[in-house]
Symmetry: C2
Subunit: 306 residues, 2 copies
């Protein structure tokens, strides 16, 4: 008997979103979309959001829209029109549902666009894509991940540490920009050593995953690292809001690797598409499977409305 | 009498370079080139070089090729084929010379490309572009620039400062990647305050410009900041090599803003296309025009073979 084969992934969907109330239309995924002089290509100058499309619906769309608009504002981009993005997302969800019942990854991208006569008046390039979720991601949802810890390698200035350092308006901390080359390099470095993911640290402090938020569970306590210069996680926020309402004690607190490796009952990486994956190993420390794994998974899924 | 009008800029030239010895061919600048899922677009995951095309010839092509290959290696990309890039650059130079005698900006871009079945075997996307030089850049070559100093906002770890921080292989310090969103934001921040450019600092230490290398002149001494985590400048290296042979004393040394503002006879920002622009003001300190400005300009131009 032949090995069972997975249904082939459906073709991606691309929908171009004109930035100032223009058309919202499908673009063939088989054709190039972006010009050679788009700021996304020449400078990584743009922002994005990744949403989970599950059972025909986009998860946490309000939260993603808020962060998308905040990122755009931090980068001095025109405000993305929420109605247009909702409309494009609904179109995409409907088209995907016609193809398959599989979950999908839905990405919004919004760039500074091509050079304009007046650089203060950018004309953004904007589109969304829907693609099948990688097998590795689906497997990690179920099986968890092995993680290397890695110093982020730089220390952000805190306010007022040095004259002029107070504002640092060009650092754009908190914006989800397209500048992920370093994070991708950290993931390749971990993969080369047989690990699946990375948790960044600063000194003893735990920061975040390469593309995810760290949370820990201990008794009835859910914790996420409190630290400067990490991206606010939409999935983590949704999980904490829901869990708090269910009686869990949820807080952001500074934490160290020792807490992750030896004090927490379980450690999870939260992100939109992979949802929650349990950390099974950090460096050479194996983390035991917690008794309440099924309960936690159910809690996380409910939080995502998924 | 009508105001004199500048000759309209010729159409850009785009030449696609297949990464593994395939075709080298023109692509219409009027059509999109890059796919929506290219790593350059989704992650800023790629490297680039910017060359000056002057009197029909690319300047410092060997130096740019070396840095291009070093950047690619740091990012675990397949080695760019030097012969192919030389051939594409010669084609581009010839095509540009048929259009105009104007200087041009020639950019090589080399990205991780679209997702492949095996992420360890990327299939890069590669092309070069030739475009007319912005009027503002031409003006700054002649008139100099007003510069704001700006703390870079983070401190890179030095080796061995913390356990595990020794290598930091994912930081890719020294690679010229497409992750320039922060530098572009710093330039916008300076422009908003009536300045033309930015010099990054760390504490008292001077680092580099947003897209240029700082050099100073004092007597017969040429200096450039010695500091960690700054990009080795091809133009600065060429200027120092040439000037050293002419009897100047050239060194990289740690320097502070005080030196730039009050000790140096003149301060310059070097980069490929703008070449050398004199810093006329740093924050609220006006820098006087040096007596030897014409001599220095001649020195810089000779160094570039331009």
């Amino acid at each position: 008997m032949a090995a069972p084969t997975r249904t082939p992934a459906p073709q991606p969907i691309i929908i171009a979103v004109e930035p100032f109330g223009g058309s919202i239309r499908n673009h063939s995924p088989l054709l190039p979309l972006v010009y050679w002089d788009d700021a996304a290509v020449t400078r990584g100058d743009g922002v994005f959001e990744t949403l989970l499309l599950r059972k025909g619906k986009p998860c946490l769309i309000d939260e993603h829209l808020r962060r998308f608009q905040r990122s755009a504002k931090l980068l001095d981009l025109p405000e993305p029109n929420a109605d247009d993005w909702r409309k494009a997302t609904a179109m995409a969800a409907e088209q995907w549902a016609e193809k398959t019942e599989q979950d999908a990854k839905l990405v919004w991208t919004y760039t500074r666009g091509r050079p304009t006569r007046d650089p203060q008046q950018p004309h953004p390039t904007a589109w969304l894509s829907v693609t099948a979720i990688d097998d590795a991601v689906l497997r990690q949802r179920e099986e968890g991940v092995k993680v290397l810890s890695a110093p982020r390698g730089y220390v952000l200035h805190t306010e007022g540490e040095e004259e002029g350092a107070r504002a640092l308006p060009w650092l754009k901390v908190g914006a989800k920009t397209l500048n992920y080359a370093t994070n991708m390099a950290a993931l390749r470095w971990a993969h080369d050593q047989g690990y699946d993911d990375v948790i960044f640290t600063e000194g003893e402090k735990v920061l975040e995953g390469a593309t995810s938020t760290v949370i820990t569970v201990r008794g009835n306590k859910l914790r996420t690292p409190l630290a400067e210069g990490i991206l606010a996680g939409t999935t983590q926020a949704a999980v904490f809001a829901h869990a708090e309402a269910q009686g869990w004690n949820c807080k952001a607190k500074p934490m160290d690797l020792e807490y992750l490796c030896h004090k927490a009952d379980s450690v999870w990486l939260l992100s939109s598409v992979r949802m929650a994956t349990r950390v099974r190993r950090i460096n050479d420390v194996k983390l035991a499977k917690p008794d309440n794994e099924a309960e936690l998974r159910a809690l996380f899924q409910e939080a995502l409305g998924a």
